[in-house]
Amino acid sequence: MTSTHETTGDRSPRRRLGGRLAVAAGLAAGLAVGWLLLPRLLYGREAQPLDFNHVLHTDDAGLACQDCHRLRDDGSFAGLPDLAGCADCHTETQGDSPDEQRLVDDYVSTGRPIPWLVSSRQPQNVYFSHAAHVKLAAIACSRCHGDIGASTSLPVYEYNRISTYSRRIWGPRIAGGGPRESDSMKMSDCTDCHARRGVADHCLMCHK
């Protein structure tokens, strides 16, 4: 009687090569799905309601970051400028930009707040004090927000379809982070920076 065991052990080099190719093809496919396809499927993209040219406002108009992104009197961060801040200069269009035209027509004239999609917005269970970091620790805005202040156009807002968080929190790489320190805003980035600077932290310091 010939056993199955003996039959399988008697395999030709061609069959063995085929098996190895199958493993390699599967491996390549798995890696491709994980590294290339997943980011495309995982993240959705959404356009901002208006485009915004930071360079135009800082270089040409001579504004500083804190002229629009200001701290309140009590030290807390006011976040994005409200519509009144925009309306200070844009009750009428000052150029021929279609986005500025829409700003005036759709928002300033109607008083409707601009529904910006904020890439750097932290989850709701996190509290972050801009005053402590900007004023007390004298950390530059670009340390966390990158070169957004030098951009002529807003990046497309990308969000995680499962967690709904902005991709900016996790970073551009699917494995997390990016080539620059400012590419991600995860908790590990916060704790790493605190550790490097010798700043104590604990859960309730940031988590509400």
């Binding site: 599967g26 496919a29 994980g34 989850p123 509290y127 995680n160 499962i162 309730l204």
Partner: protein
């Protein structure tokens, strides 16, 4: 490549390995975890401008300073207040959860009527609160009409507050009734001192943080959870040298500079042994000895003769402490410039006995630690300062004969120590007996109740925080509300009003909450009128003498902003005559029994009960208060704290009982038996079974989650001291 089933499987295997080597599974797992945190029904803190509000924690009597961070009007977190006179910039995990505890699963918003028997885990039926109040009012009216208002009692779990005065006023409006308290170990320790030094118009405190050496007889100085803040001065570079006398390796024993392990219940013998060495080795100054009225024999046996019988060798035989350690400890205490001995008992294990506390105070008196920095101090009592009506006079619930009451109303404050449910129940008798709890949560003392009426939770109303027993300074704070109460939930004073109205009592001219606010202002006015002490402003950490405040309104405003009034101790016992055996020598017979080797009967193993059960608890938690969800993770994930229903035993004890770690076992005492899970723990002394008191923190303190009440086995309801109890442990099959 041939398409075969084998190659297909290899392809799948390769693909699986490839995906595992990519971020796909880990990223999806991470995102899925975040997704579960963002389900629509999970409450989320709001966005908006932040603000701060200063207050104090009212989750236990310690009263640590807190600052709450608010988004809009909603508190989202609580922080410690640096430099606070009471808590010194510390706060325990429970206090950090004050902002969240309002949302605890045990929170009640309607009246809850018990549907299970008193000896079973509680289950509740929601009921219309107005109807429930009418029911209680009807019972009160019936008792009053029958001239039986002495069968009505109100139990104040944190006396000395403005609400306490309104509780007395409630009884006065009713026309009678008993105002009851339940002193904890610290209060009993403070009450023992006048037995040795005569009646005082001041109350004793212990300035632990500024002592050079502290010898603690089982005090849970570092085991605090709630109450952790006030122990803050015992840590750090300038902390006193700590000698812990305790049977088990508690956290305090672990952090102490020296740990003297003693047999359960033998602390008093050790204290008298130390006194023996102090006297025998002439370590007590002659001027101190001259003030001791009963040092030598007179009408009663002398203190010196009694402690002479507690030689190091005899003491070692009774306590298990090495004679050389005893002698070295006594000499260390005598050589220190400021040495202080403290007792107070354990929040879950119960107070020390009268003789233990008297022996400990006796040590302080011998060491000269009676007045001044780092010593036992005398400070003014707030009751005398406020001079509010104190009728009906307070009486301890323990002193009340069983069956004396038909209706007992229990206050909703979280006590600092364990309250045996059976102690409350056994005071009731009669066909219509009823235990009514006024509580924001169906936990703690409320679990023993027949009816729970909802009141506002800690942080939702402005309670006041007087200095707790044995505090080193007289302090007074108002804990301003940091959050709005849910609609329809009454202020505790308003609920008393509604009960009084339902019972047909006399009406007050103002609503209860208004009278409570007025009372807080009058208290601030009384402090201002004295012109003494100082007030701490948490906003900037400054301290102002009260005399510098131009009007009482300034003090009112500071207290309303979370300020803390404090006054240094004023009295000293350094020159007063003392009697170390009590004014009438009543301690002498008990000390003589101890010298004869007769420890309390409960401390010795007996036939069929070869082990000793020691209940232990954490400040506040032992009283069964709710566990803030935010810190519940500590229990679930870290196993850092002993959980209820788990019997911690030394591995040698477990082996002797034929038990292994994790085994299900029956813990039996002469009072009954409970099923427990065995935890082998090197920190527990051989022969001892240690069980935590209170509801299981792992279940968020839910009393219905199966936590067993270990105090039922310790006869805590029957006697004031229940720290040790003969016990047995035997395996039972799981099923």
């Amino acid at each position: 490549m041939t398409q075969t089933r084998r190659n297909f499987l290899k392809f799948c295997g390769g693909a699986t390995v490839g995906m595992i080597a990519s971020p796909l599974p880990w990223k999806l797992l991470d995102d899925a975890a975040i997704w579960t945190q963002n389900w629509s029904w999970i409450a989320r803190p709001p966005r908006g401008p932040q603000g701060w509000r200063y207050s104090a924690c009212t989750l236990c009597p310690a009263g640590c300073g807190l600052k709450a961070r608010l988004i809009g009007d909603l508190p989202v977190s609580a922080w410690a207040v640096p430099g606070h006179p009471v808590s010194g910039g510390c706060v325990c995990p429970a206090g950090l959860g004050l902002a969240q505890i309002r949302f605890h699963p045990a929170r009640i918003r309607r009246a809850q009527r018990r549907v299970t028997a008193p000896d079973r885990a509680p289950a509740w039926r929601p009921e219309d609160t107005d109807l429930a109040i009418a029911d209680v009012g009807h019972r009160l009216r019936r008792l009053r009409d029958a001239g039986a208002l002495d069968r009505v009692g109100i139990l104040d779990l944190r006396p000395g507050r403005a609400l306490s005065t309104l509780q007395r006023e409630f009884l006065a409006r009713l026309g009678g009734g008993r105002y009851l308290t339940l002193p904890d170990g610290r209060e009993l320790a403070a009450a023992t001192l006048p037995e040795l030094v005569g009646p005082q118009d001041t109350v004793p405190g212990a300035d632990l943080a500024r002592a050079d050496v502290v010898i603690s007889f089982g005090a849970a100085l570092h085991d605090g959870w709630r109450g952790g803040g006030p122990a803050a001065g015992l840590r750090g570079d300038h902390a006193p040298e700590l000698i812990q006398v305790e049977s088990n390796t508690s956290v305090t024993a672990t952090l102490a500079d020296r740990w003297l392990p003693v047999r359960p219940g033998s602390e008093v013998v050790l204290a008298l042994g130390l006194a023996h060495v102090l006297l025998a080795d002439d370590l007590v100054p002659a001027s101190t000895l001259a003030r001791i009225g009963d040092l030598e024999a007179g009408p009663h046996p002398g203190y010196r003769d009694l402690v002479r019988r507690f030689s190091p060798r005899d003491t070692a035989a009774a306590t298990g402490c090495e004679p050389r350690d005893l002698v070295a400890t006594a000499h260390r205490l005598a050589s220190a410039r400021r040495a202080l001995a403290v007792g107070g008992g354990d929040p879950g294990g119960g107070p020390l006995g009268r003789e233990e506390e008297a022996a400990i105070w006796g040590l302080n008196l011998l060491l000269g630690a009676v007045g001044g920095r780092g010593a036992a101090v005398l400070r003014h009592d707030l009751g005398g300062i406020f001079a509010e009506p104190d009728a009906p006079s307070a009486r301890s619930l323990r002193d009340l004969p069983d069956g004396s009451l038909e209706l007992l109303i229990v206050d909703g404050a979280a006590p600092g120590a364990a309250i045996p449910a059976d102690l409350l129940r056994r005071k009731l008798a009669g066909p219509d007996r009823m235990l009514v709890a006024l509580s924001p949560f169906a936990s703690g003392a409320a679990t023993a109740a027949d009816l729970v009426l909802p009141v506002q939770a800690p942080g939702e109303w402005s309670d006041d925080v007087p200095a707790r027993a044995l505090a080193p300074r007289t302090t007074y704070m108002v804990a301003p509300a940091i959050a709005a109460a849910p609609a329809g939930i009454a202020h505790p004073a308003d609920l008393l009003d509604r009960l009084a109205a339902a019972a047909g009592g006399t009406r007050a001219d103002l609503p209860g909450s208004r009278r409570h606010a007025d009372l807080l202002r009058r208290r601030a006015g009384a402090l201002h009128a004295r012109g003494r002490g100082e007030v701490f402003d948490p906003a900037d950490g400054s301290t102002l003498p009260v005399a510098n405040l131009p009007t009482a309104d300034h003090l009112v405003r500071l207290l309303d902003r979370g300020g803390c009034w404090s006054e240094d101790p004023t009295g000293s016992l350094a020159s007063r005559p003392v009697r170390l055996l009590g004014a009438d020598g009543s301690l002498a017979p008990r000390f003589r029994e101890l010298a004869d080797g007769r420890l309390p009967a409960t401390t010795a193993p007996t036939d069929g009960f070869p082990l000793v059960l020691m209940a232990r608890g954490r400040q506040g938690l032992a009283g069964g208060g709710p566990v803030p969800p935010v810190v519940n993770k500590l229990y679930r994930e870290a196993h850092l704290h002993a959980g209820c229903g788990r019997a911690h035993v030394n591995p040698a004890t477990a082996a002797a009982c034929g038990l292994r770690d994790g085994a299900a076992a029956a813990l039996a005492t002469p009072r009954g038996r409970l099923q427990v899970t065995v935890v082998c723990d090197e920190a527990v002394m051989p022969g001892v079974v240690q069980v935590a008191v209170g509801p299981s923190p792992a279940d968020l303190g839910d009393p219905a989650a199966g936590a067993s009440d270990i105090l039922m086995l310790t006869a805590a309801a029957e006697r004031p001291i229940w720290r040790v109890e003969p016990a047995a442990l035997e395996e039972v099959p799981r099923g």
